[in-house]
Amino acid sequence: MKHRKSFTGPELKKELKRCFIYSVLLIIFCSNICLAEAVGTEDSDENLKASNGGFFDRIIAYIKGLLGLEEKVQSSEAETAGMQQSAGTEETVLKIATPNVIKSESMMGDYYMGIFSHLSNPPLMKMDSEGHLVGQLAESYDVSENNTCWTFYIKDDLYWSDGEKVTPEDVEFSIRYYGEKSPSAGWINETLESSSVSGDNNSVTFKFNKPYTRINLEFATYMIMPKHIWGSIEKPLEYTSKGPYVGCGPYYLKLVDLNAGKLVYEKNPYWKGKSPEPKTVEIHFYSSVDVATLALENGEADTYYKYASSYPYTGIEQLEKTGNFDFIEKTDIGLIFLAPNLKKAPLTDKEFREALAYAINYEELVNLETLGYGRVPNRGFVPPTMENFKETEKLEYNPEKAREILEKAGYSDSNGNGILEGKDRKDIKLKILIRPDYARTGELLEEYLEQVGLDSELRSVDADTWYTLKDNYEYDLTVTRTTPWGMLMHASWGSGYFDSRRTGQGVMHNLDDPEFLQLCDDILATTDPEELEGYSSELQDYYAENLPGIPLYWNKVVTPYNRQFEGWYTDPLKGIYNIETFLNIHKV
């Protein structure tokens, strides 16, 4: 039984008193908000927009005020009105959001810090937008006829951020330093016979104990370090510092703050080249791609960069809606491909691989995996953005043809169970090895194979198990990707992934066809551009004919950028993160 609450005299008084106090507090709160807004409108036109918003907006603005975030409120409003915080001031700050997290304050030891530090310590060479290798710190270079002697002529107007001049000794020191101290550059130590510098023409010469034709490419990856600083550091990989680090690029690395999640680059006061507009470049790293995209949408950064990867395709539409971003779309020189085990039947059979190539629905893969930001690849493997690309036949989805090729090649279903039998008269069951990144692609492949009468078993494993099983050739098919550097390594055009003489975590090393190996050796023996073009054409024809790897899709690298900035420059190796971008970028 419920009792109705009735107020007696003193209780009524008490309730009225309470109501009065609440009303007064509410009035004070509301008037505070209105006053704060009124003061804000006097201070800034930007705030006019905020005050025109709803009451809820006012409350938020007020809370922000209480928290001492007024400046941020203003900048946040400015962001929504065109992100003028980074573009509309004298001292422009360019902010880059990245999911490539720096884990150690070691410039030479941390992989991503090394990549970002190409801004402060540029390598000798660089790649232009067409994929040609051109000088960066080097004005030009010569190579001897036998390809053992490489001479680099260093630009004369380069200075370190501490005022010292960049000398050929610095270059010689850096290359030797990498060879001696960095395990991944051990090849330098093994092959570099001698080196010398010449003050007269500001050059440095490297003599190798065997012909080495890809030095110009290799030297596009090693930073040049100041000898007068690093010469006394015995273990550079172990050297950690929060900065500043002396650099010779248009910027030097001023601060590494892992707890704040940022790298700060400041203008090099001794830079003699074209003066960059942003005073500061900040790299903000986020552990989660989702959060990085939210930060970008919120105007916390002006662009997004992830080495060898695109901005998440799923986030593009959302970012477009903000109206603050434009996008650069470039076909990646890396790609996703299906790697058959070339050391195991039936994948050793060229006809079988040919049938496989017809069994795959490339259009569907492009739509599902890249949301349309990709295209059906050619049989020649190499994407069109790569130097010396050759137009080969486009891959086609034709399950009937696949079945026909298989039957012609002797794979038939004699027992009528719907599964084709191999030449040993046993049902074919292909083991598809999949890393978590390509789980959906694996499932689709399973369906495609079933359609042409091939049974398969999907085995999803973590990256380390994948490396182990792949190196032991315990698979029939696997899906993997190439990175831009991977496409360029060894004899270039993706050859490093197949050559059986190589090792490495990401490479298949399962092709020992003498024709292919000879082609690789021929490429590795020349620096002549015409010869290289011819060999690259032969190599792409070889891929198209033999299908050692079946490309699944060529995807685009989509890079969003703040519309307030223009002058972005991309190259196939590093995307937008190159010195040209930082020198050319300017406010609209």
Partner: protein
Amino acid sequence: MRRCEAGEAFENNTLKTLSGTMREAVKKTFRYAASFLLIVTLNFAIPRLMPGDPVKNLIGEDVYVSEAAMEQLRAEMGLNRPLYEQFTAYIGDLLRFDLGYSYHLHSPVAEVLRDRIAWTLLFVGVSVLLGAVLGTLLGAYAGWKPETKANRLICCGFIALSCTPPYFLALLCLDFFAFELGLFPFKGYYDVPTPGSVIHHMFLPVTVMALFSASRNFLIMRGSVIQEKGHLYAIYARAKGLYDISILFRHVIKNASLPIITLLALDFGFLFSGALFTEIIFSLNGMGTLIYDAIIGKDYPVLQGSFLVIALAVLLANMLADLLYAVADPRVRRPTS
């Protein structure tokens, strides 16, 4: 004569009690020492049982390094030695308080841990404490008066919170408070290393973690209080004329808090292992991401060091829990006959 006999009996009882306590203490010390040895062995074995090669991992995916260079690197890292030699070296290093050198972070493990633990303690420690206080008090009150509307509502809220994965909860909070309202930053412990900036950056992750921790404590405490308040001593206390608040906070809460002590001891390990998903969402450089990266990178020294610290923390917390149990519950103090 009788007095003399009584005195002897008392002395005998005291001696028995003392020897019983000593026996218990020796037993416990032996148990903890054995656990520690087992932990040290597992710390060494588990990372090495994982698939993958630390040397290949260190070199990277697209880099070609000759077999000779790989072997040289393996030798430098001491990974070419037989396992028993690696184990004895590891034990030797431990005895010298040397936790080794990180392959990937290029620093002594002890230094890396010191930096990360400090921040993790700040982030997870505050969350666990807040969660414990909030969860215990609200849970006790909700258990004492479970039928009120407010308590039912709070209970529903905490059940919902405890069912929400921390990753999702963190992302939701970030989306609402940082993205939509712009009240808090997206990442890091600070922008500039000042207390104000640290508090501003830590507010959201600490709140998320504290809420998550509080939800668990709340549900356990609530259940425990509901059980305890039906016991005779609580009814007797009420019959004596004690106020509700006195019965709850002077008598019931003491007995009801035993499961919370166990939970806090478990949380102590969590305190040092970090909160991986929350650290990922808020881009915090803590123990969670350190261990995760070490697993991915096969950084054995970091894994061994981190696991050791966590194991020691859990052992210590269990010892503390044993002591607290004895304080909270006199039955635990009595030696088993």
